[in-house]
């Protein structure tokens, strides 16, 4: 056997080459990087501003005391913080169960029924609803019938804003549950409602919670719908040993709106501090929702 010597062949270079094509792609990714940076500028600069202007005033005192009157010094926004929690809580109590039930219907029970199409269309429209209209709705439904501005009226207004977010994200979450997992549940002898309660909801829960958190964060920061439903108050909801929700109720958002326009240095400082607190609350909720969202099935 005689070995044949292979003629030397030009081996194609596998090295990365800077051609026009890849140059363009580098430029494009650079541009995208800059845009991504720009997108985070507003949040970062707002945070910077709030920390420098509101951080100094932040103390236990402002979190627990009542708002000051005109020329008073000191004071805080404890009642507004509590009012925000109460009204967001009421909104969550309404919007979460209703929203999840609606999502179950949309995703599982009658996904292509006429009712589902109407509900889905309404929810999508509602996400774009100017938030002040949610206030108008709650004003007509709650304030006019009960005859007073109140925490429940504010809660209903916020619930209207939360509902579509909960419905649409929960519907997506439920649809993401793989069919093979539902098959397994039916195969074990589950009824349809057992499949929903024992398998679909627990499996979709992380993603559902993400949506719920986003809705809560959105509601916590809303001002307009509260202006003529909860109004504002300089007092606690809990007074003289009893809790009375059927009174005008303070909230952080409305406090910021009111105080920032006042000619008093003290109030303006409090508005800055309240803004910082509100942004921190929203930030924490978003971080928590990311944590839930990361848990995969």
């Amino acid at each position: 056997m005689n070995a044949r010597v292979l003629a030397p062949v030009a081996v194609p270079s596998l090295q990365h080459k800077m051609e026009g094509r890849s140059l363009f792609s580098v430029a494009l990714s650079g541009l995208a990087w800059v845009c991504a940076l720009l997108a985070s500028v507003p949040l970062l600069s707002v945070l910077y501003l709030l920390i420098t202007r509101g951080g100094a005033r932040l103390s236990m005192e402002v979190l627990t005391e009542l708002p000051p009157a005109g020329f008073e010094m000191g004071g805080g926004f404890g009642n507004a913080l509590a009012g925000t929690f109460v009204m967001v809580g009421i909104a969550a109590l309404i919007a979460i169960p209703v929203g999840i039930m609606a999502a179950i219907f949309l995703a599982e029970l009658g996904p292509s029924s006429k009712m589902a199409n109407i509900a889905r269309f309404s929810a999508k429209t509602l996400t774009g609803l100017p938030s002040i209209l949610a206030g108008v709705f709650a004003y007509a439904i709650v304030v006019l019938t009960t005859g007073t501005y109140s925490a429940p009226a504010g809660g209903v207004a916020l619930a209207v804003l939360m509902l579509p977010i909960v419905v649409l994200t929960a519907e997506e979450a439920i649809k993401m549950v793989p069919k093979i997992m539902k098959d397994a549940a039916y195969g074990m002898g589950c009824t349809r409602s057992q499949v929903i309660w024992k398998v679909i909801l627990p499996t979709g829960l992380p993603a559902i919670l993400t949506g719920v958190m986003l809705a809560v964060a959105r509601a916590a920061g809303e001002t307009a719908p509260l202006l003529f439903t909860a109004l504002f108050s300089n007092y606690w909801l809990y007074q003289d040993g009893k809790l009375d929700l059927m009174n005008p109720t303070a909230s952080l958002a409305v406090l910021i709106y009111n105080f920032s326009g006042m000619p008093f240095e003290n109030q303006i400082e409090l508005a800055w501090a309240a803004s910082l607190v509100l942004v921190l609350i929203v930030l924490v909720i978003n971080v928590v929702s990311r944590y839930f969202g990361r848990q995969k099935f």
Binding site: P178, I180, M181, D183, A184, A185, Y186, G187, M188, G189, C190, T191, Q194, K198, V199, P202, T203, F297
Partner: protein, 273 residues
């Protein structure tokens, strides 16, 4: 059972055959499409009955008809009967949910629930409000599925954190925890590697002592290795449709050794697939 008569004594001693499921599948439809016709498949107790045939011939359809899983498919219609424990699974007033608790199922893709290993296996017991010691039964089922040694120290870990082969054995444990009469397995090894496949095959052979197994497989070697009886299905492409039907059924040795039908011989010789 058979009443004994004089001439029974004269006959050669026959091994006792008990048919747990007598499946007469006259017509199975999805909407207007007839997927399967004229197939009579008796399933014997404590045996593995293998279903083989070219893809699309209706093996899964047949299997999913036996525990009424196909009721979930819109447009599904069934003509015939499936006698099980003296009752027709398709009889009047029969609840498909109850049927599925007696006839368990293992799927092609391992599909453990997004919960712990323990809760996966306990799922059916809790569903049936089992009164005894759930821990014992979970352990027994995991041992039965040859998985206990691998998971006994991490029962709280998510079932979805296991490897594919382990997940499939977990699904088998989940199915046998409630001690169903029959296990329907639809290509349970098709998503597994060869080593995991062998383990599941060994497991099936062990399981048939307690359970009756109906096994769909696209792998003829697998049918030869584990099935006692084999049913060969094919598709009828005449008249522009493609309807599956049973070509022949018999002991696995006979089907692969001396098939009666020309079509069976061509299929096992790999002349079409």
């Amino acid at each position: 059972m058979n009443s004994m008569t004089q001439d029974a004594v004269a006959q050669p001693p026959m091994t006792e055959k008990t048919v747990v499921m007598d499946c007469k599948l006259d017509k199975i439809f999805y909407g207007n499409f007839m997927a399967v016709r004229d197939s009579h498949v008796p399933i014997e107790k404590n045996k593995i009955t293998g279903f083989i045939g070219p893809s699309g011939c209706g093996k899964s359809t047949v299997l999913r008809s036996l525990n009424r899983m196909n009721d979930l498919v819109e447009g599904f219609r069934f003509d015939g009967h499936v006698h099980f424990l003296g009752q027709d699974v398709y009889g009047k007033g029969v609840d498909p949910v109850v049927v599925r608790r007696y006839i368990g199922m293992v799927f092609q893709q391992p599909n453990p629930f997004a919960m712990s290993i323990f809760d996966n296996v306990a799922f059916g017991l809790r569903l049936n409000r089992y009164k005894g010691d759930i821990g014992d039964r979970v352990k027994g089922a995991l041992q039965g599925a040859a998985l206990w040694e691998e998971v006994k120290d991490k029962l709280k870990v998510s079932g979805q954190a296991l490897s594919g082969g382990q997940q499939q054995r977990l699904c088998i444990a989940r199915a046998i925890a409630t001690e169903p009469e029959v296990l329907l397995m639809d290509e349970p090894c098709s998503a597994l590697d060869p080593i995991a496949t062998r383990r599941v095959e060994e497991l099936m052979v062990e399981l048939k002592q307690k359970f009756t197994i109906a096994l769909v497989t696209h792998n003829m070697q697998q049918a030869i290795r584990v099935a006692d009886t084999t049913a060969f299905f094919s598709v009828d492409i005449s008249e522009g449709t493609r309807t599956g039907y049973l070509v022949e059924m018999g002991p696995t040795d006979q089907i692969f050794g001396e098939p009666r039908e020309k079509l069976t011989r061509e299929y096992i010789n790999g002349e079409f697939s």
